[in-house]
């Protein structure tokens, strides 16, 4: 880092605000967006910034800020980045606008799959999907003569074999970090077993045989995991894979590209992508989407400009430049080998994450309550009963249950 480069950087950061190379038009209306900060959002917002007059907040606190910021009049941000769950509060509060007229005007390149419809009205535009699916070391499994695992029984059998053969110490990796991640693992398993979370009158319905079975499978898996599983998040599991420490994991599709990244992975080309293992009813995974919403509290002129800009960010050019950053829904995406797992899971009947107000409460209650079972402090039925009780307390406070 020479002094000259530092100076250059200063000059460039000044220059970047006036350059709109790589955009087909010049944006004249000031537009701001608030979204999560992962790679795909960076790619899209960078493409949008090329048109000028656009600033993006890629903020890890976006969940907390978005409902308030969109409720302000005029809205503090014109564009919001949401997923299955984070759409709910905006939808409930009515702070995002229907997009049908704008889709008709500027959305020639959108596919019907991208339009998120609530009661027939388009409320958001999806740009990518994500799902957890099976990733495994094809070399290790082939050496030991193990077939691609189709169910969790297969996974556990394979893990036992791998451990016995002593290839790796911990055959399975898992995003079991207490909180959101751990709850998500349970959601996968439980939906795979065909369970439902919320019943009549928003009452919880997880304390049943399917719930117990989901917990038991999770516990069985932890036998083959690094004992520090309660602190391991996606990035940690990804690193374990890259360093050749684990052989199988149900990991996010957005992480697939990292396995073949030569700069940091020691297992390039050795990780195969497959469908999430089947539960009794469906693959043990959920489909997630990420996309954009547009504030209700802005002028039509702003909405026009914001939507046009968003279309520029979600164009084929951006996708071809960032093909492996996500499983894009946008025209121009060529699904490669890395997207095979997500595709196979979807083909096997994976369901979307059942986002709703009560489910948000349930997810939090699960995230806080599950670790007691895995550490052995409670048995399965007590754990589930306590989670239901925690859910009820929170849901009553939120007004969802009488």
């Amino acid at each position: 880092m020479k002094l000259k480069t530092l100076m250059m950087a200063g000059a460039m950061s000044l220059a970047s605000s006036v350059a709109w190379a790589g955009c087909s038009y010049e944006n004249a209306v000031e537009i701001k967006s608030l979204s999560a900060g992962f790679e795909a959002w960076k790619a899209v917002t960078d493409a949008m910034a090329e048109c000028g007059n656009f600033s993006a907040s890629l903020d890890q606190e976006f969940r907390e800020k978005q409902p308030e910021a969109f409720a302000a009049n005029p809205s503090l941000y014109q564009i919001g980045g949401v997923a299955n769950g984070t759409l709910v509060p905006l939808l409930n509060a009515g702070t995002i606008r229907p997009l049908d007229d704008l889709v008709e005007k500027y959305g020639q390149n959108l596919t019907p799959n991208q339009l998120i419809k609530i009661d027939g009205k388009t409320m958001a535009i999806a740009m990518m999907v994500n799902a957890q699916h099976m990733m495994y070391r094809s070399d290790i499994l082939a050496d030991l003569g193990i077939e691609e695992p189709k169910t969790y029984d297969d996974v556990l059998a394979a893990a036992a074999k791998i451990k016995e053969a002593g290839v790796v110490e911990y055959p399975i990796g898992g995003t079991f970090k207490t909180g959101w991640n751990l709850a998500q693992e349970f959601v996968n398993m439980y939906l795979g077993e065909g369970g439902t979370f919320i019943g009549e009158g928003n009452q919880p319905t997880i304390n049943n045989a399917q719930g117990v079975r989901a917990l038991e499978v999770m516990k069985a898996m932890t036998e083959y995991m690094d004992p520090e599983y309660l602190v391991s998040d996606s990035t940690y599991v990804q690193q374990q894979f890259q360093q050749g420490k684990i052989a199988m994991a149900n990991l996010w599709a957005s992480r697939a590209a990292a396995m073949d990244d030569e700069a940091e992975s020691q297992v390039v080309g050795k990780v195969a992508m497959a469908s999430a293992p089947m539960g009794a009813a469906a693959p043990a995974t959920t489909l997630w989407w990420d996309g954009m919403v547009f504030a209700a509290n802005m002028t039509d002129e702003q909405a026009d400009a914001a939507f046009k800009l968003a279309m520029e960010g979600m164009d084929a050019e951006m996708v071809s430049a960032n093909n492996d950053a996500a499983v894009w829904l946008i025209t121009g995406y060529t699904p490669g080998k890395l997207a095979a797992g997500a595709a196979a899971s979807a083909a096997n009947g994976a369901v979307p994450y059942p986002a709703s107000g009560p489910m948000g409460v349930m997810h939090t209650a699960l995230g806080n309550g599950l670790s007691d079972y895995l550490t052995g402090a409670k048995d399965a039925a007590t754990t589930l009963a306590d989670i239901e009780a925690a859910y009820l307390t929170a849901a009553k406070e939120a007004g969802l249950v009488d």
Binding site: M1, K2, L3, K4, T5, L6, M8, A9, G10, M12, S13, L34, G37, F38, E39, S55, A56, S57, L58, D59, Q60, E61, E64, K65, E68, A69, A71, A72, N73, L76, S234, T235, Q238, Q239, Q242, Q243, W252, S254, R255, A258, D261, A263, E264, Q266
Partner: protein
Amino acid sequence: MSSQVMRQPMGLRLSSAVFLAFWCLIAAFPILWITVMSFKSPVDAYDSNALNVIFGPATLEGGDGLSILDVLAGIAVIWGTFIVAIRMMPNMVRSYSPSGFQWAGWVIGALVVVVGFIVVFFSVLPTIMGVLNPLFGPLGRDVIGLTTEHYSTVWIDRGFSKNFQNSLIVTTGVVTVSLTVGTLAGYGLARSGSNLAFWILIVALVFRALLHSVLVAGYLPVFINSAEWLAPILGENAPTLYGKPFAVIAVLVAINQPFTIWMLRSFFQNIPAELDEAARVDGCNHFQAFRRVIMPVMWPGVITTGLFSFLLGYNDFLVTSLLLDAQNQTMVPAIAGMFNRETTTTDQVVAVAAAVSITAPLFLLVVVFQRQIVSGLTAGAVKG
């Protein structure tokens, strides 16, 4: 302890030296380690073998490295900077700055040292070493893998300098306002024996014990909607407080007030009340007495307290991450964002480099103000 009787036996001196060395190792180790990590390729940085992290074989393979000569020269420059900052600069500041403007002298002095160090270390030194290395044969060959690419990623590609500016604005604001308001209050509290003064102190102490997350969550909706509820008072130009550095400064100052007034109060209590009483006999009112008599002698305590305010403003995560948006984001939330994003291992090392970058100014601050901290504390800022 000059007298003969105070001389200590060899055993005690030896064990205390060993203890000190051990403590310094523990104190510095995590920081040293992340500094080492930040200069390595991702494969080396997360290697479980400590030697691989230190010597960075994969980084060296990538063609980035340092020779023994580079290392020696680098250490010399750092040591030189240290000496300049701790010995020469304070002396020069003392002898050259006009009285009453010492603080300006310190600011200028610190700036000169920083800029000088950056120029020498990143520009002059590599150039000289580029010429010298080939001349020295084996001494000039690369032996340790080391790359500065993560730093250039952070500062140039990721626009971290913008976050740095924001941090600077917020921190400067917090220190100035906090000291101005706090000095007045501290003086008032120290010179008043009323029960009200006592209760203000006690309530302040309880305030200090409050959970910041609860306070901050309360501000968020109010700040976001401020344009609406301020409109009746300020009309058209009512600002949205969310995302405004001055609003964050006000919050941080308020949160830090309890500690500030407690420290400054005990400090002022140690300045004999006779001093300002004498001034008042000469016809000054309280404010004049404060300005003429107290201000000239209060600097050690104020600098120490100011340092604590600085740390609070600079290191704050909770308030800045919630109340600022991306355009005004300071460094700490920016780094936390880097770590929490869906990241590759490379990104993690880049984030480590960012983490090291933000500790560098703190280093410098301590080097420069170290003596003032100790003398400020000695002068009684913490009488309890």
